[in-house]
Symmetry: C2
Subunit: 292 residues, 2 copies
């Protein structure tokens, strides 16, 4: 049931992302190709899935907000393209495919990222069936999460701390920005679109922040315990690169303990929603079991 | 009068841009510094000035829309930072100062641009005194102008045509995107914020597109006739770099003729607005006289 629902919605996202790009009349074909290359490269579509699941929890049909769900995936994709650039992480492969700049060149990759971020804002405005004030709130959530106080801020910490050991506080801020902020925006946007009340929004925000933390800890654990094929990078690379992670700053067993506790805290936040939050509960539990 | 009004509003923009940045709580100080370095590096603030002047023409007080005016300057600044990157134009200096990446490194410059674009969307949502629907229309104008069908699209054409001669049609699309789209969005946004009717919006859109064209032609003319100190780059550099421009694709005298005609067409579009459009008229006339 959990897997089927995920796959079903993932397919909705794939189809809608393709449509959004096809509907554009780009001034330059290569730019369009470069955007498509990364946007349609698969992936779990976790952020759109979370956005829709949060709307479900509030009692709406999450698929009504597919448009905004696609917008957040565009923001996520842009961040990966820029993150892979030689000036940043300098990665040649992502999900087993050459990274954007390896195919289209560094300049076009910068532009493809820029254009995806911009398109995200255009797309989310088209979200139907919600009042203008609500759409404005969602644009606000997204812009704050994606910017200097959120995702880009986290990337800047990451860039600046390259090659240094960092302490637990800095690690936490970095991840809260780099990955946490967009999970936060996905879940809050889904809730806001579905008309969540203040208490519901607050509970889902707690869930979102625990989800983000659990995601990061399990990511760090996978670097040690994962399968090279499945995680798509050599096992133990964080350790060899002297990267500070939840595992290197504590220990594997402490990190596993923290991950379990964090998932439990996320589940506890869902309590008021009962069965409507079943999918969100499964989603955070899945983090403990994931292989990539 | 014209110069005084420009300077007065330019100072309003400077002050407000500073405030907007100071109000942020960035996760990373270097990122904040890098954004500030380019955003506060002076410049004519032409796009904010146009936005406010378009609102004046519709009968509002343009300064009421200073918030949105600052947002468009952030978009413009981000585009300059990314355009100067080694992967793009590879420029070391802008307005006599080292470019962003020369001071902060390529990675931080990518992020500073990303964060300014994102901040622009956050800031424009805060525009007071207009209904939510109007603010949404402005976000739509900005995102469409800045994206793949506008500014970034034009930059992609520029990047791809490096070292080739291009024809007049391609040159026109490139500039319509690279510089025209943001002038278009500035003027239309000012008009929309001020509550322009359909006919007024249409007349100001014509003005905007003529303004953009005249701006580009006079820019190309300055490359030949300008003063090295004032234009901030060696005279004749387009010719030496085999860049296609309105001058190289026609002739200096034909380009001057076209510039004059285009400015006249822009002025003609302002006719229905009478004296309320005096500043817009002076602005487009200034293009013929500008020295940088």
């Amino acid at each position: 049931m959990f897997k089927e629902l995920w796959q079903e919605r993932q397919q909705l996202v794939e189809r809608q992302l393709g449509k959004e790009l096809d509907a554009q009349q780009p001034l330059n074909k290569t730019l369009h190709d470069a955007m498509q290359y990364s946007l349609m490269a698969g992936g779990k579509r976790l952020r759109p899935i979370l956005l829709m699941a949060a709307a479900d929890a509030v009692g709406a049909d999450g698929t009504k907000f597919l448009t905004t769900a696609c917008a957040i995936e565009m923001i996520h994709t842009y961040s990966l393209i820029h993150d892979d650039l030689p000036a940043m992480d300098n990665d040649d492969y992502r999900r087993g495919k050459l990274t954007n700049h390896k195919v289209y060149g560094d300049g076009m990759a910068v532009l493809a990222g820029d254009a995806l971020l911009t398109l995200a804002f255009e797309v989310m405005l088209r979200q139907a069936e919600v009042p203008a004030e609500t759409r404005l709130s969602v644009v606000r959530e997204m812009s704050m999460a994606a910017g200097m106080n959120g995702m880009v801020g986290g990337q800047a910490i990451d860039l600046e701390s390259e090659g240094h050991r960092i302490d637990m506080d800095t690690l936490r801020s970095m991840h809260m920005g780099k990955t946490g902020a967009l999970f936060h925006a996905a879940i809050r946007s889904g809730a806001i679109l579905a008309g969540a009340g203040e208490k519901e929004l607050s509970a889902l925000t707690t869930y979102a922040d625990k989800f983000g933390l659990a995601f990061q800890i399990t990511d760090d654990i996978l670097d040690v315990t994962g399968d090279e094929q499945e995680i798509g990078k050599p096992v133990g690379s964080d350790l060899r690169n002297h990267k500070s992670t939840y595992v290197t700053l504590t220990s594997l067993s402490e990190a596993q303990q923290l991950a379990t506790e964090t998932v439990q805290a996320a589940e506890a936040a869902l309590q008021p929603f009962g069965e409507r939050a079943a999918f969100l509960r499964d989603l955070v539990r899945y983090l403990l079991a994931r292989k990539n």
